[in-house]
């Protein structure tokens, strides 16, 4: 069964962290159709979080059709998230590796690379909105 963990420093809302962890497990195939998610009380007692938060995360997953709640029995996985674009990952990763090697060659450290990527993403977003 999936076990949730929380990163209180991440700035990501707790319910979203739960949603993301379920999705990640679905992508990785560690949970599959028919598997049961922990009950709200189990998660609450384990993580010391607000029951409303867990309920909200499960509702969100249900809204997206990933799980179904069965009255009195619990919440079960209803569909999986096999990534359709997985085939492109390898190629993209290869290109990224080459780019990173080029950045390395001109002396950019990890922090500078991250800063460059995030500022490029922001500029791209700004252009798209403008």
């Amino acid at each position: 069964m999936i076990e949730f963990h929380l990163d209180s420093r991440s700035g990501v809302a707790t319910y979203l962290q739960i949603v993301q962890q379920v999705k990640e497990s679905l992508r990785l195939g560690t949970i599959d159709v028919g598997d049961q998610l922990p009950t709200v009380r189990e998660v609450v007692a384990d993580l010391a979080i607000n029951p409303n938060t867990v309920a909200k995360a499960y509702r969100e997953l249900e809204r997206e059709g990933l799980v179904v709640a069965r009255q009195g029995r619990g919440t079960f996985v209803a569909s999986t998230l096999a990534p359709a674009s997985l085939s492109h990952y390898d190629e993209l990763r290869e290109q990224l590796e080459r780019w990173l090697a080029a950045a390395d060659a001109v002396g950019l450290d990890e922090e500078s690379i991250k800063a460059l990527i995030s500022s490029t993403l922001r500029e791209r977003l700004a252009r798209r909105v403008a």
Binding site: S8, G11, T14, R41, D46, A48, N50, L125
Partner: protein, 298 residues
């Protein structure tokens, strides 16, 4: 306004000092509300008004739709743990539970029993550790199956492990009873894990109130080179402005996405947000020394 706890223009004065003033708020049913603020902000005063232990100097307070002073019977639906979890020290744990069983019209033995399994019921309350005393207090209030649960600084005196355990038991109890909970705490880290609604008091006034997610969603930290401030697209209001050297850091309320590439935009944590609203004047960043020479204002 309706809700389990509604205050309208509520104020309480002790001699010439206002402990609470102009307090208007309504907490949502089923919420877990963090009542935050520094010491002497008015948190305990608000809880004492909510339980009818104090009478308002002005304004009004309604708890579960009724006036706690005139309708004390509503307290059967309210669980209140005052600061330090005061209990009868000479009672044994069993006596304490028996007392609660006989004095509460609805008493749920199961909730209490679950919380107290690892405590010897013959122990005198005065001999319990702080963590176990907190457990007993929690068993007492949850056993009432209250609609509204008020806790004043429940983490004070608990070590981190006992604090986390208390929170787990509290949340488990709340999942069972569906109570609305108000947790007063001056340590934001203790409550940010659980609360979905915040009431921030400071100097006896409500500084910020709202749904935690919405508050975090509507605020952003902007960092960038220092410059004259014009309008920034996507920013509704600047809450706090701090500069150090050539760097400018803004806490703003956002109006949609902020896409200005000259700013680094970050989410704000609850603690930082509350500190900014708590005392903006106290948090001003020291100016660069060459700009503001030290002067003696004696």
């Amino acid at each position: 306004m309706t809700g389990p706890l509604v205050a309208r223009g509520l104020g309480k004065r002790f001699r010439r000092e206002w402990a609470l003033r102009d307090c208007t708020l309504s907490i949502p049913a089923g919420g877990i509300v963090g009542l935050a603020g520094p010491n002497a902000a008015g948190k305990s005063t608000l809880l004492a008004l909510a339980t009818g232990l104090l009478a308002p100097t002005e304004g009004s307070i309604e708890v579960l739709g009724r006036d706690p002073l005139r309708r004390p019977e509503l307290l059967a639906d309210v669980g209140f743990v005052a600061q330090g979890a005061p209990l009868y020290r000479s009672f044994s744990v069993a006596d304490t539970i028996e007392f609660a069983r006989r004095t509460n019209p609805r008493w749920d033995d199961e909730i209490g029993a679950e919380l107290l399994t690892r405590i010897d019921s013959r122990t005198k309350v005065g001999a319990l550790s702080a963590g176990d005393r907190a457990r007993v207090a929690l068993a007492l209030v949850l056993g009432k199956r209250p609609q509204l649960l008020l806790l004043d600084e429940p983490f004070a005196g608990l070590d981190p492990l006992a604090g986390r355990e208390f929170l787990q038991l509290l949340m488990d109890g709340v999942a069972e009873t569906s109570s609305t909970v108000v947790i007063a705490s001056h340590v934001i880290a203790d409550i940010e894990r659980v609360c979905d609604h915040i009431v921030l008091l400071s100097g006896g006034q409500v500084r910020l109130e709202g749904n935690v997610e919405e508050l975090l969603d509507s605020h952003r930290i902007l960092m960038g080179p220092r410059r004259p401030l014009g309008t920034i697209r996507g920013v509704r209001q600047i809450v706090r402005e701090r500069h150090s050297g050539r760097q400018l850091t803004l806490l703003v309320t956002a109006d949609g996405a902020i896409v200005d590439p000259s700013w680094t935009v970050e989410h704000v944590g609850l603690e930082e947000l509350l500190l900014a609203y708590m005392a903006p004047e106290r948090l001003r960043t020291p100016q660069a020394p060459e700009k503001v020479p030290l002067r003696w204002h004696g």
